[in-house]
């Protein structure tokens, strides 16, 4: 039999429209499924929080689905849940993101609720109190979680108290107590705006119809308030080997996170760093880190590295969960691998493996509506262009062993790291 042909999303298949108020709408038609996914963002992340009240951006996003001028909590959530639709908001460092999905027949309802939530939220005290209480419980529980506490230690040590990245997007037990509904109302009024907003739709809906539905629901939205971009101090990586220990009673295992400041997604050497990270702690069974710490020494169930950079410079880190008596050995082995990455060229085979891995995984990433939508959104978020995937293979295979070594040396130094241990 003849199998169908498949094409990468590109300017030929992604339908882009910029509404008069600045909202960018992108639609990718996928008639093979009976549902529709939407994924979008606007510039209302936690970097806009006052430093002494972190959590405002996140609580504002949460409040969107707790009531509007025409729908109370019950009515708004029933509108979604009665039809099995899903709509979530979340807050990152730079953006507030929303994602949702519904059966094709209910797409209009999904957009209607989204538009209402974005434009007309009310911020009532009892809803804020409920969320504050919930978050306080969650944070108190998280303070007993070794991985959470090790990560928190790294974050606080890498970024100075004058930088938004020093603080949790979710808020702290202390900051949550001081945030009021007025704070949320003010934040919404200033930062929720159509200019800079992106909505991606993927599913069994035509581009023309989807765009018209969104234009009808959000095309008249205006916000003339000023939205100031905060200014933060320049970041510098650790200048020494610094260890932070958090002791938590009753724990059987310790979590270790070793890290430094990595690149943002806009950095010229981001792709080379991504490949370097994959070689260090991702490819195969968690890369070189996994091979030594798990496979050879049997010290840990998980041992890997990750790169967190987005619109700003996130951490580049190695994580492992080990028995307390193996903490020092694990740190030593992880540093050995970091040192190796920064002093030796990776082999041609290592590079080729990882280049094949990066390009080969595209079909799986693009299989689901959600995978397609988030990928298309990233093309806009990081100014990659809608034909980014068309040239992706060429870009990945243009990276050389020198590029990998230079990227590793640019960011990592085995003697200048934050080592955060909790257990």
């Amino acid at each position: 039999m003849t199998l169908p042909r498949y094409a990468l999303p590109s300017t030929e298949t992604i339908h882009e429209t910029v509404l008069q108020n600045g909202i960018t709408v992108l639609v990718y038609e996928n008639p093979a499924v009976e549902s529709v996914v939407l994924y979008g963002s606007l510039l209302a992340g936690s970097i806009y929080d006052p430093l002494d009240r972190n959590g405002i951006a996140s609580l504002t996003a949460d409040a969107l689905l707790r009531g509007t001028t025409t729908r109370d909590f019950e009515t708004l959530n029933s509108a979604l849940e009665d039809i099995g639709a899903e709509l979530d908001t979340s807050t990152g460092k730079h953006r507030m993101t929303f994602s949702g999905r519904a059966l094709v027949e209910d797409f209009t309802v999904l957009i209607d609720v989204l538009a209402d939530a974005l434009q007309n939220p009310i911020f009532v005290e009892n809803e804020l109190a409920e969320e504050r209480l919930k978050r306080t419980t969650e944070l108190n529980f998280a303070h007993q979680d070794t991985r959470y506490m090790a990560t928190r230690g790294l974050r606080k040590a890498l970024y100075p108290a004058t930088h938004a990245y020093h603080y949790s997007t979710y808020g702290s037990v202390d900051s949550l107590q001081h945030i009021t509904t007025s704070d949320l109302r003010r934040f919404h009024s200033q930062y929720y705006r159509p200019d800079g907003m992106t909505i991606v739709v993927v599913g069994a809906v035509s581009a023309q119809i989807a765009t018209a539905i969104i234009a009808d629901a959000l095309g008249d939205w205006q916000n003339s308030n000023q939205s100031d971009l905060p200014i933060f101090p320049d970041l510098s990586p650790p200048q020494d080997l610094i260890r932070l220990d958090t002791s938590i009673a009753g724990k059987i295992q310790a979590d270790i996170i070793i890290g430094t400041i990595g690149p943002s997604r806009f950095a010229d050497d981001y792709i080379a760093t991504q490949l370097a990270n994959s070689i260090l702690g991702e490819f195969g069974m968690m890369g070189r880190i996994g091979n030594v710490i798990r496979e050879q020494l049997g010290l840990a169930y998980y041992a890997y590295s990750r790169l967190d950079g987005g619109e700003g410079a996130g951490a580049w880190s190695v994580t492992a969960g080990v028995a307390p008596e193996n903490v020092d050995l694990t740190i030593e082995k992880a540093r050995d691998e970091i040192r190796r990455l920064t002093t030796e060229h990776v082999s041609a085979e290592d590079l080729d493996d990882n280049q094949a891995y990066f390009t080969g995984r595209l079909p799986l990433r693009l299989e689901s509506n959600y995978g397609l939508a988030s990928t298309i959104h990233a093309m806009i978020q990081y100014n990659l262009g809608l034909d980014y995937l068309v040239g992706y293979r060429e870009q990945i295979f243009s990276i050389t062993r020198d590029d990998i070594l230079n990227a590793a040396q640019h960011y990592f130094d085995a003697d200048k790291l934050i080592i955060s241990v909790a257990g």
Binding site: E81, I83, Q144, G153, A249, R294, A356, G360, E367
Partner: protein
């Protein structure tokens, strides 16, 4: 949608479903062996054997397949459940052959090198210790042990520490030889292939594997519980949890679908649909008593549990939440649910079902699980069976199953934080 369902001459079952929405294929190999079949002294053996299957064969030494599958842009992994052990790979369609070769090879050629076995012992102990760091792991373990005195569901999949420390390489190898056979296995493939061509590929890789009698798994039925059980777990920390479980029938039973509706009404449908309009969200979250409420039944071969788990906010007691949950259950027993609630539960299930079919990996899993449950049609008839549930069915199921005699109540009591043992470095210590 017509599946190709067949069996090779050595007893290996095969189910193939063509889906051409994306150029990928998901290939699954399921073995009819899980933690429910483990004897005391060998708890966790199925999971450990699953780990050993990634330690290589002569044809594919350790690490070779991780590399090959990553190079191909695929994902592969495995997991052990209470009821079965499954291996899967999802790959770009033109690279699926490697998965077939790998699974056929390690079904009979896994080496279980003694040194690798010892190295993996510490990895698995580390996996268990990672779980032990969470207070809720201890609560879950205690509730299961209280619910099942005889049946293998009484222990966690990862196994008891005593067994992880004492099992030998020969124990593991014997388990592997007994249960990793063509007659005890099932292949499911879903994706962009021609079914006849895929069957030929499977025949070429698996058809020559030895024919053995399907092993009889070790199972001991759980006798009826003789009254409500309560269990308390104390762990350091500040957060209290409550777990209320009831014995329910196996997943192929009609009553299981009636209980699915009850769960949807009490805690939401799950599957990506939120639960903010469910009865217990309103009763526990909107009143500030709880920070979370979750509910659900695992799909299971034998009768298992319907579990409700609550995270309590500071200032509220287990009794506060327990009283509310039991009152909601009593209300369903007494008054049933409304037509609106029934219709909503069915619509939510339809949506969640549609979302889950977007990925060939999900579809293949559900088909494989259906076969393991003993009903090949379980997944494809799920919505039909749910839609057949009536208001009376729901009320009767609540009256029959959600009763004290079938109940296990678990309390996680936080013992607080010993300040002398808790500190966070504020000053940074420079090592070099």
């Amino acid at each position: 949608m017509t599946d190709l369902v067949t069996q090779l001459s050595n007893g290996l079952q095969v189910i193939l479903r063509e889906v051409h929405s994306a150029p990928v294929i998901s290939f699954w190999l399921a073995y009819d062996i899980g933690s429910r079949n483990e004897r005391t002294g060998q708890t966790g053996i199925s999971h450990w054997v699953e780990h050993m299957m990634f330690k290589g064969t002569q044809k594919f030494p350790a690490g070779v397949l991780d590399r090959e599958i990553d190079r191909a842009g695929g994902q592969w992994n495995a997991f052990t459940s209470t009821d079965y052990t499954m291996y899967y790979a999802t790959l770009p369609a033109n690279r699926i052959q490697i998965a077939l070769e790998a699974e056929a090879d390690r079904m009979i050629n896994a080496e279980f090198d003694p040194a690798e076995t010892e190295s993996e012992r510490t990895v698995i102990i580390s996996e268990r210790q990672g779980s032990e760091n969470s207070p809720t792991f201890w609560l879950n373990e205690a509730v299961r042990a209280s619910a099942f005195r005889v049946h293998g569901y009484h222990h966690t999949i990862i196994g008891d520490m005593a067994d992880l420390e004492s099992m030998t390489r020969d124990d593991l190898y014997a388990h592997y030889k007994m249960y990793y056979t063509a007659s005890n296995a099932l292949i499911v493939a879903v994706g962009a292939f021609d079914a006849q061509e895929m069957l030929q590929q499977i025949e070429a890789e698996f058809g020559h594997l030895p024919t053995q009698v399907k092993p009889t798994p070790f199972v001991r039925p759980e006798p009826e519980q003789q009254g409500e059980c309560r269990v308390t777990v104390e762990r350091s920390g500040m957060t209290a949890f409550l777990s209320i479980a009831h014995h329910v029938p196996e997943s192929t039973h009609d009553d299981w679908f009636k209980l699915e509706i009850i769960d949807s009404v009490l805690t939401g449908a799950g599957g990506g649909v939120d639960n903010r309009t469910s009865r217990l969200y309103k009763a526990l979250m909107k009143t500030g008593i709880a920070a979370s409420i979750d509910g659900g039944m695992s799909e299971s071969i034998d009768p298992y549990l319907y579990e409700l788990t609550v995270t309590l906010n500071d200032g509220y007691t287990h009794a506060n939440a327990e009283e509310i949950i039991l009152a909601e259950i009593a209300d369903i027993q007494r008054n049933g649910i409304t037509q609106y609630e029934l219709d909503k539960a069915k619509k939510q299930a339809r949506a969640a079902f549609a979302y889950s079919t977007e990925s060939v990996t999900n579809q293949a899993f559900w088909i494989a699980q259906s076969a393991m449950l003993g009903d090949l049609t379980w997944y494809d008839t799920f919505l039909e069976r749910l839609n057949a549930v009536t208001l009376d069915d729901v009320q009767e199921a609540a009256q029959k199953y959600l009763i004290p005699r079938r109940r296990i109540t678990g309390l996680l009591v936080p013992t607080g934080i010993d300040e002398s043992e808790y500190y966070e470095d504020e000053a940074e210590e420079v090592l070099v």
